[in-house]
């Protein structure tokens, strides 16, 4: 298929940036979206132009690196997939495809389609962990009884890959789905209880400090999340936050 691409080009963080139009031809419907981008970049390199910078790593939907806003949706028009899992069969011959970086002030553009998502790292560092003594006397995790329901819900929350699609798609650039998934995966397990109060207060404070917007429950994040993280996690985090706030 032949396509017209309107891609955001931005030299560096200080550049204003603009949409640039490219034509790509003979694109197979079996290609992944990133393979199509590879074809474009080969064309650009052969012409002596600067290739389009974009994030990618595992290319199998696990690492959370790819981060494109395609035709007005995070990770493109398919549901439950990352950009690397998006196939060109989702498009038609002659289509014009808009490709933009994930937009949020907390995700500044580094170059072209590459954004800096280290704000997520700082939120994780604020409390997204449990402190375990690893001196050699560590208790076997299986020695602590955990109900199947709690284990499954914690596992579901833990599948968040931190790609940032929730922020990109939210009209408010809210990071509530990401933060709530990280809070929930520990809040549901006994191992997470010791630091539960500090965790939620510190992670939410860091989220606010990074400049993310506020959640207005549009539910767009849940729909666009490639891992299907549920809004139940946001409600759980709100409960955790209210409980922690009342405890000081």
């Amino acid at each position: 298929m032949n396509l017209t691409l309107k891609i955001w080009r931005q030299k560096d963080a200080n550049d204003k940036g603009r949409l640039v139009e490219y034509k790509v031809t003979d694109i197979s419907e079996h290609m992944s979206f990133l393979e199509m981008m590879d074809v474009l970049n080969e064309q650009l390199i052969n012409k002596g132009d600067e290739p389009v910078a974009f994030d990618h790593d595992c290319r199998e939907g696990i690492c959370g690196m790819c981060s494109m806003y395609i035709n007005g949706e995070a990770h493109g028009p398919d549901k439950g997939v990352t950009t690397c899992q998006l196939h060109m069969r989702m498009f038609k011959d002659g289509d014009t495809i808009y490709i933009e970086p994930f937009r949020a002030n907390a995700f500044p553009v580094v170059k072209d389609l590459v954004v800096d998502r280290s704000s997520f790292d700082r939120i994780q560092q604020a409390g997204g962990y449990i402190s375990v003594n690893t001196s050699g006397n560590t208790q076997d995790a299986n020695a602590t009884p955990i109900s199947k329901i709690a284990a499954d819900q914690a596992m579901d929350a833990a599948t968040c890959i931190g790609c940032g699609a929730c922020v990109a798609t939210c009209k408010n650039s809210s990071a509530m789905l990401f933060v709530s998934a990280k809070v929930s995966q520990y809040a549901l397990l006994p191992q997470g209880q010791v630091e539960a109060t500090d965790r939620v207060l510190n992670m939410v404070a860091q989220m606010d400090a990074e400049g993310f917007g506020n959640c207005t429950n549009t539910g767009a994040c849940e729909v666009e999340c490639p891992k299907g993280i549920s809004l139940e996690n946001i409600a759980r985090m709100n409960r955790e936050y209210m409980k922690a706030s009342s405890q000081g």
Binding site: G17, E73, P77, E100, R103, N105, K171, F212, E224, L231
Partner: protein
């Protein structure tokens, strides 16, 4: 935001319960209106709480919107919001502004004349100028004679319904309520969001055609 929303939704239901009596009995409506308008607990405790709730909800709504706009200063060239969220959820500020405009009109229509009669003229009797019965039902009917005003009220209640269609369940989600009862609550929320504004529209139209 969510707390004030829950409070205002409860108030709305109470307001509707009183107003709908005007369709069935002018006397009952008059009695309840006189009680609400002269009871010290309602006038000097509940009414200030209500005003605070309304102002707080609007101020917080504006602050929330401004903060959210500032969190993304470079907009997308192409954004397909309809693919993942409802129109109502994305436009709460606009439906909210329409409701604010309506509340100002509603205050001019009912609340300011009420304050004038009671606290400027000092007439707490609630009686008509000729002294023949209470004035509340007549005032209500008089307001809905003008078709233009009825039209504005109907449009305002459409915006109220749109606001509630998202706002009802959003308030519960913000308060941390998302569990096995959520599906049922969503259905109840949709029924509330449609039936209560529809009821107010019915009351306005009823009095317009029966004055």
């Amino acid at each position: 935001m969510a707390l004030s929303a829950l409070f205002l939704m409860f108030f709305l239901l109470q307001h509707f319960a009183i107003n709908i009596t005007s369709v069935f009995s002018a006397d009952i409506f008059n009695e309840i209106s006189h009680f609400m308008g002269t009871n010290p607990l309602i006038q000097y405790v509940m009414q200030p709480i209500l005003i605070f709730g309304v102002v707080f909800h609007f101020v917080m709504g504006f602050i929330l919107e401004l903060k959210n706009i500032r969190s993304r200063t470079v907009k997308y060239a192409k954004n397909n919001g309809g693919a993942n969220s409802s129109w109502m959820s994305r436009n709460m500020i606009w439906s909210g502004l329409a409701i604010l405009a309506f509340i100002i009109l509603h205050f001019i229509d009912f609340w300011i004349p009420e304050l004038n009669i009671k606290f400027v003229q000092g007439d707490m009797s609630g009686l008509l100028p000729d002294g023949e019965g209470y004035r509340y039902f007549e005032e209500l009917q008089h307001k809905f004679v003008n078709p233009l005003r009825v039209g504005v009220y109907v449009i305002a209640f459409v915006f109220l319904a749109l606001h509630l269609l998202h706002g009802f369940n959003s308030a519960f989600q913000s308060m941390g309520a998302n569990n096995k009862y959520t599906k049922g609550l969503e259905t109840f929320g949709k029924a509330y969001a449609i039936l209560v504004p529809l009821g107010f529209v019915f009351i306005a139209l009823f009095h317009h055609f029966n004055h």
